[in-house]
């Protein structure tokens, strides 16, 4: 399962495609995963029973997405499937089902604004229109310089600090338009 691509290529040279699925490795995409990424995925694999490598699909997608500037490509998903030794379709399914995976490029800072009920009651509309006009983009879009992208998200369980947004791993709560300006100005 964790064949290096070099091993895999040697194998494929000696086996016919029908003989073993290892033969697929002739056009292996495993090289797309760095050693660090693989080591990190391995840490998650260790949490699940040995025959459940598929359980690591979600952490693997997150780790790979983070190492690729915040989004996934089909090639990267194929590489994950190969690494976990699961069908590519099961990785695509997961990547398209969950909202935190991005399938097209996003800004260096992905701004996720909650517009759900408690945030709405506390003024998220104003935060959203401020962000849109300040950045000149709408939801699902990225600024021309690739610095910011904007995303509407559902309740992030911080309704006591409404209105709120998440950028990267950080939550920012009790937002006002001035506070939003301050936060964005500090981001490189």
């Amino acid at each position: 399962m964790t064949l290096s691509s070099k091993d895999a290529q040697t194998l494929s040279a000696t086996q016919s495609p029908a003989q073993s699925k290892k033969a697929k490795a002739a056009n292996s995409k495993l090289d797309l995963l760095s050693q660090n990424v693989c080591a990190e995925i391995d840490q998650w694999l260790a949490k699940y029973p040995a025959d459940w490598s598929i359980s690591a699909s979600m952490p693997a997608l997150r780790i790979v997405q983070d190492s690729n500037g915040g989004y996934l490509t089909t090639d990267l998903m194929d590489a994950i499937a190969e690494y976990l030794d699961v069908p590519a379709i099961s990785i695509y399914e997961v990547a398209t089902f969950y909202s935190m995976y991005e399938l097209k490029p996003v800004g260096r800072h992905k701004i996720c604004v909650c517009t759900n009920i408690s945030c709405m009651l506390c003024g998220s509309d104003e935060i959203v229109s401020h962000l849109k006009s300040k950045l000149g983009i709408g939801f699902g879009e990225m600024t021309g310089d690739g610095k910011f992208s904007l995303k509407e998200v559902e309740c992030l369980a911080a309704c006591g600090g409404a209105p709120m947004m998440q950028i990267g791993r950080e939550y920012y709560e009790n937002l006002t338009t001035e506070k939003v300006d301050e936060i964005l100005n500090k981001l490189a």
Binding site: S55, E93, Y98, S99, M100, L121, E154, A157, A162
Partner: protein, 424 residues
């Protein structure tokens, strides 16, 4: 009295550390159980006495749930904690993970021992990075102190604890969707039976409990089931975290005895903002039917009282709306949420949530038709009870609830193509 259970260490400096947790008797129960090899039945009977009911929303008695597990069956069994916390208005589990992670760890270890499971998973929603880090640090501390792992404190008992991070999907809070998600799949709920206690995670017997439920266990066993029961009231044992948000002066989490009058809770949360009048309250998270403010002012915050008033305590997520709130707009946002989060598996939910969202939205935007209000009630009725999991009901209940109490506002929107509130 406030802050007696999950928030009992809230006043301490760095309450999330092992040292702080142990300073108030943390892990004493776990050590005693390991030392005395307490009978599982004894623990379960204490929980039954306590009347602890599941804090994830359904309110199922925890002692009874634990008794369903075949604890002596051979092979692996699992304890799973539900820290997915996705129901709009709910933000309590985040604070347990951040400020009292050891209570959850001790609760999960005790759960594992009681139900014969040596592995536990905590499913934390993917957006919760800071809470995840707090929890992981606490797990490391507990492991280093020999309180988790193999042959814990020489007892011959093993318990390993792992975190699984979600990827952004409300449906994964539903317990069988959550199991699918740990198995690395799309979060689509399973058909039941078989129930998780016989066929759960990786096909093995599994019990799923909410974060707050599990974090309450150590205090209950430390002080006794009777103590917990008497904090609350019969059939509604203990204190509970209420997440109060919306138009109040001091939104936040408040841990108070079940049965506390809503009026008192509102006062703790600083009262109404800007001196406005209270119009409506969603008492248990966005899926529970809203109630008029004046009804709420006479209701006590416990499962039975809120059910009697026509709604549900749910996860204790109290969303307060003042007189300036447009109920149609509030409902439009809630209906959109369930439409967005339906997993698409069952036709009544997949199609019905879209209908609800579109129709409420057109009423809100002045394009409502005379028959729309009844259409909404009809669609709600056709979703309810016809889906594999509770998301369908969760989408339907707020619609019928809002129309029941605020029909005139919907009617006004349809008749005048504008909002009653902003027009006034």
């Amino acid at each position: 009295m406030a802050n007696e259970v999950c928030f009992k260490n809230h006043h301490l400096d760095k309450p999330w550390t092992l040292q702080a947790y142990q300073s108030t008797g943390g892990y004493d129960v776990w050590k005693k159980i390991l030392n005395k090899k307490t009978q599982a039945d004894e623990i379960i009977s204490e929980l039954k006495t306590s009347c602890l009911r599941g804090r994830g929303g359904a309110g199922f008695p925890t002692g009874l749930k634990w008794s369903f597990m075949p604890r002596n069956a051979p092979g692996e069994k699992y304890i799973v904690c539900n820290s997915d916390e996705g129901e709009p208005g709910t933000f309590k589990d985040r604070d347990i993970l951040r400020y009292n992670p050891h209570a959850l760890i001790e609760g999960m270890a005790i759960a594992g021992y009681t139900m014969g499971a040596s592995v536990g998973y905590n499913y934390i929603r993917g957006e919760f990075w800071e809470p995840y880090e707090h929890f992981e640090t606490a797990v490391k501390e507990a492991r280093a102190a020999g309180l988790l792992g193999k042959n814990i404190l020489g007892s011959g008992i093993d318990f390993e604890l792992y975190t699984h991070l979600g990827g952004g999907a409300y449906i994964c809070g539903e317990e069988t969707a959550l199991l699918e998600s740990i198995e690395g799949k799309k979060g689509q709920p399973r058909f039941k039976p078989p129930f998780p206690a016989s066929y759960g995670l990786f096909g093995r017997p599994t019990t799923i409990n909410n974060t707050e439920t599990l974090a309450s266990i150590p205090s209950i066993l430390q002080n006794g089931g009777k103590w917990f029961l008497e904090i609350g009231k019969p059939n509604n044992g203990g204190a509970k975290l209420f997440s109060v948000s919306g138009h109040v002066n001091k939104p936040g989490n408040y841990e108070v005895p079940l049965g506390t009058p809503f009026a008192e809770l509102l006062e703790m949360a600083g009262g109404m903002r800007d001196g406005n009048k209270i119009k409506a309250v969603i008492p248990g998270g966005s899926s529970t039917p809203m109630l008029p403010g004046d009804v709420m002012m006479d209701v006590n915050m416990d499962y039975d009282s809120i059910a009697k008033a026509g709604s549900m305590l749910g996860a204790g997520s109290v969303i307060v709306m003042d007189e300036k709130t447009c109920i149609v707009k509030a409902l439009a946002r809630i209906s959109y949420f369930y439409y967005e989060e339906s997993c698409g598996q069952c036709t009544p939910c997949r199609e019905g949530t879209g209908w609800l969202s579109r129709v409420v939205n057109r009423i809100e935007n002045g394009a409502g038709r005379p028959e729309d209000i009844d259409l909404l009630l009809d669609v709600s009725k056709k979703i309810e009870g016809r889906t594999i999991c509770g998301l369908g009901d969760a989408a339907a209940m707020p619609v019928s609830g809002a129309i029941k109490h605020f029909r005139d506002e919907f009617q006004y929107h349809v008749d005048h193509k504008k909002c009653m509130v902003s027009a006034a």
